[in-house]
Symmetry: C2
Subunit: 135 residues, 2 copies
């Protein structure tokens, strides 16, 4: 039921520095930038041919991204898959005994409905489900 790659998220210690690098090296510039206090991150979204590259900088030391950086250093953090309904996808994953982080859909960045699947359930990949925009 996954129809598209919504985003690839990268943990960075310094968002300004990372944005300068992505522009200089790859010609990629941010579409928008947002602070998501509930997740303890400031994020920038770069549109790469219809897929978001999401750069994530922690805004406090106890945020999941801060802990990730402390443990692993900067790098690939999570993979976002687009689905028609996050609620239906969670029901399906529960039926398949896949371990979840979010048991219910919740608000994410950019006003989207999201939920995270536990990397222990997916073979080591932190997966974010992102609901398709209702148009």
């Amino acid at each position: 039921q996954v129809t598209r790659v919504d985003q690839i998220a990268i943990a960075v210690p310094d968002l300004d520095e990372a944005l300068a690098f992505y522009e200089r090296a790859f010609g990629l510039v941010p579409e928008y930038r947002e602070r998501v206090d509930s997740d303890g991150v400031e994020e920038a979204m770069l549109d790469v041919g219809g897929v978001w590259l999401q750069l994530l900088q922690p805004t406090r030391d106890d945020s999941p991204i801060a802990k990730y950086l402390a443990k692993n250093g900067p790098g690939l953090h999570h993979l976002g898959f687009g689905v028609a309904s996050v609620g239906d996808a969670l029901d399906h994953l529960r039926d398949q005994d896949v371990r979840l982080i979010d048991e219910e859909p919740r608000p994410g960045g950019g006003g989207h409905t999201v939920a995270f699947v536990h990397p222990k359930g997916t073979g080591g990949v932190l997966v974010e489900l992102v609901e398709d925009d209702a148009h």
Copy 2:
């Protein structure tokens, strides 16, 4: 000069098991499967709305993927960006003092021309440049 996300690559210890999981959990099935002996991998390519999900299993203990799995366990391994010319992209990155793994374009999976950029040059992300198909 990056125009699209070509692929997201995931290191897996067992390709059959990983393929069974991606089908069962997300409804994703492989487009093709290939052994690339020069890289010491067997790979499966799943088309997710025009972006490749590349699952990589090592075929020998001294391959980079085997070493990665031994050190980090399974998970997100590299990110492939589509470019019009890998040679031009490498020239540009050299001009910008970005550290490379491949100094010259080389053959990768699926008959594509590729080159890898060193994670120390990109802020922790192993980046693969993949040349657009000539049509």
